[in-house]
């Protein structure tokens, strides 16, 4: 199909627009909620240099979410601020894995966060995201292809950062290895949801918004098998989605907890200008 160069063109075809919007919500909500969870580590990361590096990564990821929300804005979905702050949990399309809390306690009280879970969740998500961006660079929707090209520039460092943490902790043995294996299991139990294209999967490929779902999963699996092999861990087979499918609007209580905190200031006065 021909490339669609502008939002005006995209809204001509109602079915195309529906599929495009669905995909953009998945991309935006994924980056948005994971960047929020990451920001909850501020001041708590294992050491001061990591604290700053990780905070930077979260800012970058939040910036990626902004780019996707702005694409939605240009398609008439409302302002990026509203889309990020005002939508209810049931309207969100992020994968459930990305909304899960960092550990027990809260930021202000007894934050007993799990660094192993954080490293594994980010590393696996960022590898997935890198592959997804590669595919999106060929998207039929030109503004999305252009955004993906830009975002991909920062993705290299993100993957490199988590790769170092992942390999050093997994290969270190002892408590680190045990905790990393538990974290891998936890992430693997939900990762099928991250990979899911949701209800519009057929339209995504029909309109060449992104490559076909199963092809993408195969590509991802090849990459992940290498990751496990280098870490000296057996490949656990296909991942599951035990807590459900976030792409369909199903979510856990953890998302409500995140939304109430991240929109707290915004909700005080939604009309305020920033």
């Amino acid at each position: 199909m021909d490339q669609i160069a502008t939002p005006q063109e995209a809204i001509q075809n109602k079915q195309y627009k529906m599929a495009l919007i669905e995909l953009l919500y998945q991309l935006a909500d994924d980056d948005f909620i994971l960047a929020f969870r990451g920001s909850e580590w501020l001041g708590l990361a294992p050491h001061i240099e990591e604290d700053i590096a990780y905070a930077s990564i979260n800012q970058a990821t939040m910036g990626h979410a902004v780019m996707y929300y702005e694409l939605l804005e240009s398609l008439g979905e409302g302002s990026a601020d509203e889309l990020a702050h005002e939508r209810k949990a049931s309207e969100r399309k992020n994968a459930i894995l990305l909304e899960l809390m960092n550990g027990t306690g809260s930021y202000l009280e007894n934050p007993s966060y799990d660094w192993a879970f954080t490293v594994v969740r980010h590393y696996f998500y960022d590898i997935y995201k890198k592959l997804k961006l590669e595919s999106l660079k060929q998207s039929s929707y030109l503004p999305l292809a252009q955004a993906a090209t830009k975002i991909k520039m920062e993705q290299y460092y993100h993957v490199m950062h988590w790769k170092v943490w992942f390999n050093q902790l997994v290969l270190s043995g002892g408590e680190a290895k045990t905790r990393m294996q538990a974290a891998i299991q936890k992430v693997w139990d939900e990762f099928a949801d991250v990979l899911s294209y949701g209800t519009y999967a057929a339209d995504f490929s029909k309109y060449q918004l992104i490559e076909e779902e199963n092809l993408f999963k195969q590509k991802w699996e090849v990459e992940m098998q290498q990751v496990f092999q280098k870490a000296g861990i057996d490949y656990p087979g296909p991942p599951s989605a035990r807590k459900g499918n976030g792409r369909t609007g199903m979510h856990t209580e953890d998302l409500n907890q995140a939304l109430s905190i991240l929109s707290e200031v915004y909700s005080l006065d939604p009309q305020a200008t920033w």
Partner: protein
């Protein structure tokens, strides 16, 4: 609550076990510029230091390359050996300012009228006296 003192306590405990090392971070602003020392940071190994260096010190300005060097790998002068740096203040001839007169000399030659005799004298006898050696008034 995870208190600051608890954090510091844990950090110093790790340092006692020689887990963290100090790394010096260098970066290059562009392909033409030299590496410049930026800051130092704590990391357990080189790979981690490099990954930390990027977002800790290169957040605001672009760089084209980064080096990290373990501080303990740097050989420093001992305080008493710093005497080796002392010298007399009589070596002006090593400073390029000693060649300041060259500009004036150039100007003089540039302003000279090129006559036929002058031009013919350039080619001339190749086995002649070495013009560079003859009448040199270098310092």
């Amino acid at each position: 609550m995870y208190t600051k003192s608890k954090y510091v306590e844990r950090m110093s405990c790790l340092q006692n076990e020689e887990f963290y090392h100090v790394f010096e971070v260098f970066s290059k602003r562009n392909h033409k510029s030299d590496f410049q020392h930026q800051f130092s940071l704590l990391a357990p190994n080189h790979e981690m230091a490099l990954v930390m260096a990027q977002e800790n010190f290169m957040r605001r300005e672009p760089v084209v390359d980064i080096w990290v060097v373990k501080r303990s790998d740097i050989t420093k002068l001992k305080p008493e050996d710093k005497k080796a740096l002392e010298r007399l203040d009589n070596k002006e001839y090593r400073l390029t300012k000693g060649y300041g007169y060259l500009k004036k000399k150039w100007r003089k030659y540039e302003q000279q009228v090129l006559d036929e005799k002058e031009i013919m004298s350039w080619g001339g006898d190749q086995r002649g006296p070495n013009r560079n050696a003859a009448g040199s008034d270098s310092k």
